[in-house]
């Protein structure tokens, strides 16, 4: 079917433009920008609302296999479609970990049948994410793994890691690290400082992140592997990242939307929905991170969607599970940065869609002729109060429950077909 979106505020992350125009879709691809309406095309009047490339969310935890009560491919896909996320890049920190081509094939098949949006998979870098032996990186690449990561399990043995990096480099594989010194952060529930001391919670110093990052970057320099840091959240890590980029290393970095919109004080009276990995940081760090995204030093904004059931969160703070869901709240939360005047919409979609797609070698994330018609139509100004009961994830551990947010997804298209919004 041919679609012609008119009167749309086109958010183009490649050109940085944000202007009214029209967009034509045929055969699942974008065929024209500001072209005439083709004969017989269905005309969709966007009413001046924003039309942007669908979000490519790098690092989503889905509970398959092992924890389907927390999230399934189906529930994650529905939440993603409602949140304007058209491509999910799933994490391998499942039970068991996705560390063999057989498991990868299994989840790929399951995801394809169950989800309304695209789901791609990453694979573990070491077997069982245990940090001892590398996985079959070659076979896993052939089976469709987009990147290799042990998620929040940090390999302490630098020898193992350097070999895995070297091997991955020979195949051109992308490795995703979790920059954190595991010794310093062991047992920590929050970032150390006045608030942690007042609440009597074990904290980790922000420099533990730089310590992990510097180690990884030295190994990148040693091996030449393509490297992405999953979350950089502290101002003190930024100079190291900038240095590595200036030196021409193939390095990128991401951050979760929660670290860009919340700070350590939000934990308040031991609210476990605000317990994240890494923990929320000081306000000064948050502001520095927003600036780093605006400057392009941090490349990717993700949701770091981590579903946890009620039982694992209804515990004393130290014992409670870590992580928050974010697929459905990523876009409205990101609008906080837009409304605060920190980052414009093309800049946001560069970090939400274009950069992660490019880094993973996907054709998505662009509003350009020939690109897949994965699109999100949204109104950045619609205000609402989030009720977590309305979330489509099986787990509803969002830190934004009861929060006032602005920005509502009106429709989501995947290859030109509507997967969320008014059913025509």
């Amino acid at each position: 079917m041919t679609l012609h979106f008119t009167n749309a505020r086109l958010i183009n992350p490649e050109t940085g433009s944000d202007a009214l125009g029209s967009l034509t879709v045929a055969g699942g691809l974008i065929t024209a920008l500001d072209g005439p309406a083709p004969e017989g095309a269905r005309i969709i009047d966007c009413g001046g609302k924003c039309l942007a490339p669908g979000i490519v969310d790098l690092g989503v935890k889905i509970g398959e296999p092992g924890e389907r009560h927390r999230e399934s491919f189906r529930s994650a896909g529905l939440a993603a479609a409602a949140g304007g996320v058209t491509t999910i890049i799933a994490r391998p920190d499942t039970a068991p970990a996705i560390d063999t081509p057989e498991t990868l094939e299994f989840v790929t098949r399951r995801a394809r049948d169950a989800s309304p949006v695209r789901i791609h998979h990453m694979a573990a870098l070491t077997k069982g994410r245990a940090g001892r032996e590398m996985t079959e990186i070659g076979f896993l690449l052939d089976a469709g793994a987009l990147a290799f990561t042990d998620c929040d399990h940090v390999t302490t043995d630098s020898k193992v890691l350097s070999r895995a990096f070297t091997y991955a480099r020979s195949l051109g594989a992308l490795v995703i690290g979790h920059p954190q010194d595991p010794g310093l952060s062991a047992g920590a529930a929050v970032t150390s400082g006045k608030f942690a001391s007042l609440r009597g919670l074990p904290g980790v110093h922000p420099l533990a992140e730089r310590l992990g990052l510097e180690r990884d970057l030295a190994l990148v320099e040693m091996t030449g592997v393509r490297y992405h840091a999953d979350q950089i959240t502290c101002a003190q890590s930024l100079p190291a990242l900038a240095r590595a980029k200036d030196a021409g290393l193939d390095v990128t970095a991401g951050i979760s939307i929660h670290h860009l919109t919340l700070n350590d004080l939000d934990v308040g009276d031991y609210r476990t929905f605000f317990k994240l990995t890494p923990p929320l940081r000081a306000e000064a760090d948050r502001l520095a991170m927003v600036q780093a995204v605006a400057d392009g030093l941090i490349d990717v904004i993700c949701s770091m969607h981590t579903p946890q059931d009620e039982e694992s969160k209804r515990l004393p703070f130290e014992e409670a599970a870590s992580g928050a869901v974010g697929l459905q709240t990523l876009l409205p939360a990101a609008m906080r940065l837009y409304h605060a005047g920190a980052i414009d919409l093309p800049g946001l979609f560069r970090a939400l869609a274009l950069n992660p797609a490019r880094r993973l070698g996907l054709p998505q994330g662009r509003l350009a002729t020939g690109a897949p018609a994965d699109l999100v139509l949204f109104d950045p100004d619609t205000p609402f109060v989030l009720d977590r009961a309305t979330l489509l994830s099986k787990s509803r551990n969002t830190p934004f429950d009861g929060e006032r947010l602005e920005g509502k997804v009106l429709a989501t298209y995947l290859g030109g077909a509507s997967v969320f919004g008014p059913q025509e």
Partner: protein
Amino acid sequence: MTFRARHLLGIEHLAPDEIRTVLDLADRYVDLNRRTVKQADVLAGMTQINMFFENSTRTQASFELAGKRLGADVMNMSVAQSSVKKGETLIDTALTLNAMHPDLLVVRHPSSGAVNLLASKVNCAVLNAGDGRHEHPTQALLDALTIRRAKGRIQRLTVAICGDIAHSRVARSNLLLLGKMENRIRLIAPPTLMPPGVAEFGCEVYDDMAAGLEGADVVMMLRLQRERMDGGFIPSEREYYHRFGLDADKLAHAKPDAIVMHPGPMNRGVEIDGTLADDINRSVIQDQVEMGVAVRMACMDLLARNLRAERGRKAVETYA
């Protein structure tokens, strides 16, 4: 007389006038406790449950005695060796107890914030008897009462708190209380046992006993947990005693009439010299234990009054 609190979860949520109310009432209970017949009936007919998820002899005994002297029916539950081992969650345990309609719930738990979590799930008044390294409000209140009775006031004093401050809920609650009452606070500890960012609380931080004790009115020693003595946080017990253990020489830096306190149980010869601990001219350690019962009686009395008032209001609303 003002006391608005619904629960006693920490000093953080108490205002200075509420603290004064507790201390004034506790003074009266000290007198009662010194009589032969130590019986009041302010909690008569009420049920008090002591729920200790962490082993405790002294605090549990103190709460039990306080409740009994006020006429409450007191039940002790050592949860450390019961249903928790069977996998029941804290909230389920709380809901089970709540269904038995207790009026006062006294809780100690090894995790910071656990008592706050529990308080949000029950209808009765909850007293925090120590949660992790967060707060131990009745200890700070009994320390304040001890200081007020020894020094005649609880303002404008220089108080030195020495020892394992990082892992101490007693230190946190005292820090908050003494700050609210406008005292000068000094923290003395090896840097490995000092919590980060603590200087932002408005206290002075020292890692040298002589300098920190200079001119102090009150010297508060903290217990050093056995498991922290060997290598992890400090090199050895003997080096700790040499540098941070309180003895007559170090105490000489404080004011001549400075009092010595310790929340107990003491490690004699680790954080405090045994002779000094027993010196009736300087040590008020036994007074602290006595004040403990009185302060806990005062806290439970005040919470029970608020609980009755709240239930009365609810009953009126129901029938109106």
